[in-house]
């Protein structure tokens, strides 16, 4: 047991103090403490998930070999699935021509933003006297012949008539 030296001067005071600590140290534990601790220990998950060692056919496999085979199978399934998806699903072929937005001003610089240029012009001629009335439409004009030919024929006819008149004189 504890064999610890004591100072005789302070022995009585210290002993009185230690008596309180000894009372605390001897307090009884609550009932059912062990059962509660055991229940909590049992509820703590400590089992290991594993595969059965006895396979049909009588072949007994060791745990490490089974784990290695399982790991290889998982890797094979995942890689095979990924390869299958890769080979079946092809990305859409890209066209060689890239669609570009039309350039507003190919030469560069600033654009006119659609504004129309209107040049400044001089004032038109002002009519000071009244123009003679247009000649009455002839039959040819009314029949649909071109106006230039009509006027040309008219002048030629008038010239012939004038020459005939002068010759008759």
């Amino acid at each position: 047991m504890t064999a610890i030296p004591r100072n005789p001067v302070n022995d009585s005071s210290a002993r009185a103090g230690e008596e309180t600590l000894r009372l605390i140290a001897t307090l009884p534990a609550p009932e059912g403490l062990e059962d509660r601790i055991k229940a909590r220990l049992e509820s703590t998950p400590r089992r290991v998930l594993f595969w059965p060692l006895d396979w049909p056919g009588g072949a007994v496999m060791h745990g490490s070999a089974v784990r290695a085979a399982a790991a290889a199978a998982i890797v094979f399934v995942v890689a095979g699935g990924g390869w299958g998806i890769y080979t079946r699903v092809q990305p859409a072929a890209r066209s060689n021509v890239m669609a570009m937005p039309p350039r507003v001003n190919p030469a560069g610089g600033f654009s006119s933003a659609g504004a129309m240029r209107t040049p400044q012009t001089l004032n038109g001629p002002v009519v000071t006297h009244q123009v003679n009335e247009a000649p009455a439409p002839t039959k040819e004009m009314l029949s649909g012949a071109p106006a230039m030919e009509k006027s040309h024929r008219t002048k030629a006819t008038q010239r012939k008539q004038a020459e005939n008149r002068s010759a008759a004189r």
């Binding site: 047991m1 610890i4 030296p5 100072n7 302070n10 009185a16 600590l21 605390i24």
Partner: protein, 191 residues
Amino acid sequence: MFPGWMEIVDSAVPDASRTHSDERALVALVDQYATILYRVAFSVLRNPTDAEDAVQEAFLRVLRHRDTLGEIRDHRVWLIRIVWNVVLDRKRRAKSRPETEDIADLARVLPANGLSAEERVSAAQHHAQVLACVERLPAKEREVLMLSAFDELSSVEIAAVLGVTESSVRSRLFRARNLMAELLNRPRSVR
């Protein structure tokens, strides 16, 4: 499919027999040492619920290292050391509650058989004064004094729990008793 595929079966664990023996040993440890572990925890925490939680946490730590149970020479000291560390961690973390409430509660809990009502009040005040003085001791001296209150622990075992030499335990206990005597004789003059 295969019967028992991906099931959890205890009997299929390779070292099942050793695991079962470890579990039996752990149950035996609970039966044998839960009470003293609780008292050690209660002497520091001074709260029944906290003390029980600390004991449970200590046994959970043992469960994690149950493979090494066979290598332990003295299970009692080993367990007390585990619960001591658990308790100190908890007390360090739980500083929100004032010490005076703990002391008052504990003074009322302590046994006072055969005393009158007036004597009980006086005894409770004395216990509260003693506990207040213990709290004012330096940590090293206080720990040794508290562990020395357990008759089950020798100075060698206290040294093993605290991880110090036996001579350190003796010197610390000597200083602790002197300080306690001074504090109890002149409680207001010494700080």
